[in-house]
């Protein structure tokens, strides 16, 4: 997995609560069997004026000039500033894949939906929960100052503002460790393979009805 240590970048404000994963990446793009290439269709229904199709050429599609992502001042944004309950809805990991593929590295919001929050960490993307007042102040500052950048330091758990002041944030210790080192969850879990095997043996003895093979046949 991609490491996250320290990232500095332009901040893009997405002023909308309950942004769901259909909003982040519409369903037609989920037909892909790959993990990459979703960035060009990030926020597709709001970013473009027409309906997006998988495997189509997106370069000539009409852009929605009112959508924040299309404003030149936010071009190349790396930090997404969002509102409450970001990432709700479907469990599609295509949502963090699309954000990552576009170039976002961190997302700041007052709250996230559980599955999305979890999926971010599996992809080297850092979701940070900050209190509402701080988020609201950041929205004001970003909108007032063109070229507004933030530096996110995971090791120090600090976000540094352009004026040098900083905002501390909390992060789960284990997830921090994995992100800093780019660790693969499966590899880590398999270090406990003996424990899993011994649990499984006991469980098979005490609850054998979960281990029966079916009479049903496959097709």
């Amino acid at each position: 997995m991609k490491k996250f240590i320290r990232e500095k970048g332009l901040v893009l404000p997405l002023d909308r609560a309950n942004v769901d994963t259909d909003f982040i990446i519409p369903k037609q793009f989920l037909k892909s069997i790959k993990r990459t290439g979703f960035g060009v269709n990030l926020f597709d229904e709001h970013r473009y004026m027409d309906k997006g199709l998988p495997d189509a050429d997106n370069s000539n599609r009409p852009l929605n000039p009112d959508f924040v992502l299309n404003q030149p001042r936010y071009e190349g944004a790396r930090v997404l500033l969002a509102k409450d309950n970001f990432g709700c809805g479907s469990s599609r990991e295509h949502a963090p894949w699309a954000l990552d593929d576009y170039g976002f590295r961190a997302i700041l919001a007052p709250s996230f939906a559980d599955i999305f929050f979890n999926n971010c960490f599996k992809n080297g993307l850092l979701p940070i929960v900050l209190n509402k007042a701080i988020i609201s102040a950041l929205f004001d500052e970003v909108e007032a100052n063109e070229g507004y950048q933030l530096e996110v330091d995971l090791q120090q758990q600090l976000i540094t503002k352009p004026d040098g002041s900083s905002i501390p944030f909390s992060v789960d210790e284990f997830r921090k460790h994995c992100l800093l080192n780019g660790l693969d969850d499966i590899g880590l879990t398999l270090k406990d393979a003996e424990k899993i095997r011994s649990f499984e043996d006991n469980w098979r003895n005490s609850a054998p009805w979960y281990f029966t093979t079916t009479n049903a046949t496959t097709t």
């Binding site: 909308r16 609560a17 309950n18 769901d20 259909d22 909003f23 519409p26 369903k27 037609q28 989920l30 037909k31 069997i33 993990r35 229904e45 309906k51 998988p54 495997d55 409450d84 309950n85 709700c88 809805g89 479907s90 469990s91 599609r92 990991e93 963090p96 709250s111 939906a113 559980d114 599955i115 979890n118 999926n119 599996k122 992809n123 789960d172 210790e173 284990f174 969850d185 499966i186 880590l188 879990t189 398999l190 406990d192 393979a193 424990k195 899993i196 649990f199 499984e200 469980w203 609850a207 054998p208 009805w209 979960y210 281990f211 029966t212 093979t213 079916t214 049903a216 496959t218 097709t219």
Partner: protein, 473 residues
């Protein structure tokens, strides 16, 4: 041991190991797989040269992306017109074949929406931990299983390790006291709950649904309730095991039989929260106060009783909420203050993992029997949740009732709930839908979704606008 909730009990029984920071490895009994969120996970296994830890714990069926017209389905895989969809469905077949995973293929009678098929086959059992790369996995909690959605990285993790790494959620009890009034259903209960606690109300919790009105529901009704736990923000919803649960499971293909059944039942009877178990939060609703519900906005919490009106943003004091209402009404093309009953429908969708089981189809058929779909309704589609539901409905003559009323009778799949296949709601069109999400664009680009129960969707089909099912004789 001190009093425990049902969630505590299932969690404790599956705890493999716990780290100091509270991160735990939880053993997974059943992993359900479909075509959309699994290809990258199987690819990951191949790249790392790994095999599934326990292939027989997995159960697959394609559902999200397959066509529902008989014309396409009769020809099997080759009949799928969309080449990208065809590749995805074929990839699932190939992966299951390669890794020795049980799959009900598209052409199998037992194929269907994974959350309909799992319980139907008895692959969902009380006390199990169940995961699937789909947020509506919460459905299986109706049978007293701890079930929730996961992302594709976790699909790969479960395939490779039979475990999931996670932290324990908090306990919430949602109790629905008393009895539902006639015409009100499980769908109305869960929409009312979401209306009360909001779409983030359950974030960080496992919700146990209890109380007289929940206990009185059939297992299918309970599935409707647990299915939408995720729409309240909770990854998992749970309902205690009782006689209704056991009766439902007995004799199903994957369920234990004979002596093993008796042993299992003895163990499953303990799958209830202990008296005096502590919940971090408790929410209480009175069933008698729940009316048929209709969503008017672009989030499931934007819901009103059928007797109500679309809210007027000007009347909302909270600035954020006012903005959200304005945004939703603009998308939905609705005026604040409009009576819910005056909302006109262009499309009716009866289906999805929320409401596509036989009882749902019976409820819808009872309303449309002998009547015709209103001429203003362009499409009215009934999509059974599985091949077996379809067969049963046809044996009862429900298909004829729908067809005679002017509705379409389709092949099983997720269909217009998420509109990944050709079943899409047109731009600006209003749809009375028995599905679970009314997000912008969910059922089709620019489509406007109103979530309702099957009976309410059927009544709207006949009248061309929402009507109170309780007013119909």
């Amino acid at each position: 041991m001190s009093s425990r909730t049902l969630y505590d009990k299932i969690w404790d029984a599956h705890l493999v190991t716990q780290r100091e920071d509270g991160t735990a490895l939880i053993y997974i009994d059943r992993h359900l797989i479909h075509e959309v969120t699994s290809p990258q996970a199987f690819e990951g296994l191949r790249l790392a040269n790994r095999l599934p830890w326990r292939a027989d714990a997995n159960f697959a069926t394609p559902d999200h992306n397959i066509p529902t017209t008989s014309e396409e389905r009769l020809q099997g895989l080759e009949g799928i017109k969309d080449p990208v969809s065809k590749i995805q469905v074929r990839t699932l077949d190939d992966n299951c074949q390669e890794f020795g995973i049980f799959e009900l293929k598209m052409t199998d009678d037992r194929q269907g929406i994974v959350h309909v098929v799992g319980p139907e086959q008895g692959a969902t059992l009380p006390g199990m931990t169940i995961v699937c790369g789909d947020s509506h996995t919460s459905t299986h909690g109706a049978l007293g299983a701890l079930a929730h959605g996961i992302g594709t990285s976790e699909v790969e993790h479960v395939l490779a390790t039979q475990c999931l790494m996670q932290k324990k959620a908090k306990n919430m009890l949602v109790r629905v006291d008393g009895q539902l009034k006639p015409g009100c259903t499980a769908k109305d209960i869960v929409l009312a709950i979401i209306g009360k606690i909001g779409t983030a109300g359950g974030t960080g919790f496992t919700i146990e649904f209890g109380g007289e009105a929940i206990q009185a529901l059939s297992v299918e009704g309970r599935m409707t309730v647990c299915n939408m736990a995720i729409e309240a923000g909770a990854r998992a919803g749970l309902i205690a095991v009782d006689e209704t649960t056991l009766e439902y499971i007995k004799g199903r293909p994957f369920a234990p039989a004979g002596e093993l059944w008796d042993q299992a039942v003895e163990s499953w009877r303990c799958l209830v929260s202990d008296a005096g178990a502590q919940f971090d939060e408790t929410v209480v609703l009175q069933a008698a106060q729940i009316e048929p519900q209709v969503t008017w906005g672009s989030s499931p919490e934007m819901v009103s009783p059928i007797s109500g009106n679309v809210p007027d943003p000007a009347q909302e004091v909270d600035e954020t909420k006012r903005g959200n209402i304005r945004q939703a009404l603009k998308y939905m093309g609705l005026q604040g203050g409009t009576a819910i009953k005056d909302i006109k429908l262009d499309c009716i969708f009866i289906g999805s993992c929320t409401n596509s089981r036989i009882e749902d189809l019976r409820a819808a058929a009872a309303v449309v029997k002998g009547k015709k779909v209103a001429s203003s309704v362009e499409v009215a589609m009934v999509v059974p949740g599985s091949g077996l539901v379809k067969k049963q409905a046809e044996a009862e003559g429900l298909d004829k009732i729908f067809l005679e009323a002017g509705m379409e009778w389709r092949e099983p799949g997720c269909s217009m709930c998420l509109a990944m296949n050709a079943d899409q709601l047109g731009e600006g069109k209003h749809c009375a839908s028995t599905s679970n999400r009314n997000f912008e664009g969910r059922q089709g680009f620019g489509g406007r979704t109103h979530l309702v129960s099957p009976a309410m969707a059927a009544a709207a089909a006949i009248h061309g606008h929402f009507v109170d099912i309780r007013d119909l004789g």
